[in-house]
């Protein structure tokens, strides 16, 4: 999946104040891309190269989070650990590839299931345990986002 960026796209650069971020943001701006903001935790409030406002991670405008994952690797399990410790906003997840046969490479390199951690079921389990809602198909995502949540520290109770 890809996004077609043109001269009207407003771009936000993660880690804009770092080495990679600075290099790429400069290149983007030189090419004509509208870099409108950057995000660097802890450096919110400054103006990068006197041009671009930098924000911390917290975005008060975000009310809910949707996580799209897929088979292969352990990124979703790592996300679950992070959600447990640091995320209080409601998270809904859709994990693609439950219907894929194990051991076959589905397109790009990461989407291959070897062992148990890469399986869709394992990822879903890890996420549910930390309070994430699961959508069984992309169409289910909107209904899962809605609803009432009660916050207890860093975790959600439904």
């Amino acid at each position: 999946m890809s996004i077609l960026v043109d001269e009207n796209t407003r771009l936000l650069v993660q880690g804009i104040t770092g080495g990679e971020g600075t290099f790429h943001a400069r290149a983007c701006i030189e090419y004509g891309t509208r870099v409108v903001a950057g995000v660097t935790p802890g450096k919110g409030g400054i103006l990068w190269e006197n041009k671009v406002p930098v924000f911390n991670q917290q975005d008060p405008g975000t009310e809910a989070i949707v996580l799209i994952g897929e088979i292969g690797g352990t990124a979703e399990q790592e996300a679950a650990a992070f959600i447990r410790k640091r995320v209080t906003k409601p998270v809904t997840a859709f994990i693609a590839g439950g219907a894929a046969p194990p051991g076959r490479r589905m397109g790009h390199a990461g989407a291959i299931v070897t062992g148990t951690a890469g399986r869709a079921e394992e990822k879903k389990k890890a996420l549910v345990v930390v309070g994430v809602r699961l959508a069984e198909s992309p169409a289910e995502i909107p209904e899962k986002i809605g609803g009432v949540t009660v916050h207890h520290g860093g975790r959600r109770d439904r």
Partner: protein, 145 residues
Amino acid sequence: MKMHEYQAKILDTEQENPLEVDARGKGIENYVKLDGDIGIVVNGAGLAMAVMDTLKLAGGRPANFLDIGTLNDSRRVVNAFRILSADPDVKSVLVNIFGGMARVDVIATGIVEAHREMEIKFPVVVRLAGTNLAAGERILGANPV
């Protein structure tokens, strides 16, 4: 020698599914034959897997995984249909395109060309969204298939 050259040298294509070998020969690297009867043509591996999941949820069985990628070439779409036509298990085809870099009008042209160049006996259901959608819809509208 590079790894893929080495692999190409030692790979015994006779041990592989002939449809998959044929697909690679036609430039479609991301095709996996499965055992259902609904063929799919999708851009993006993640979206293709999501389509497979959703089909299964609805009680259907995908005949294959196929990521057509973002190369804007209608011939690739034609080749995808050639491969699905060659699979006797395929009784219908679902095309799901969410065009970012892949342009919907190019895909639509490919669908029309595929129908002109081969006898497509199964029903084809097409869902289009994204870049150049209006142009794509016009192409399909003007060429009833």
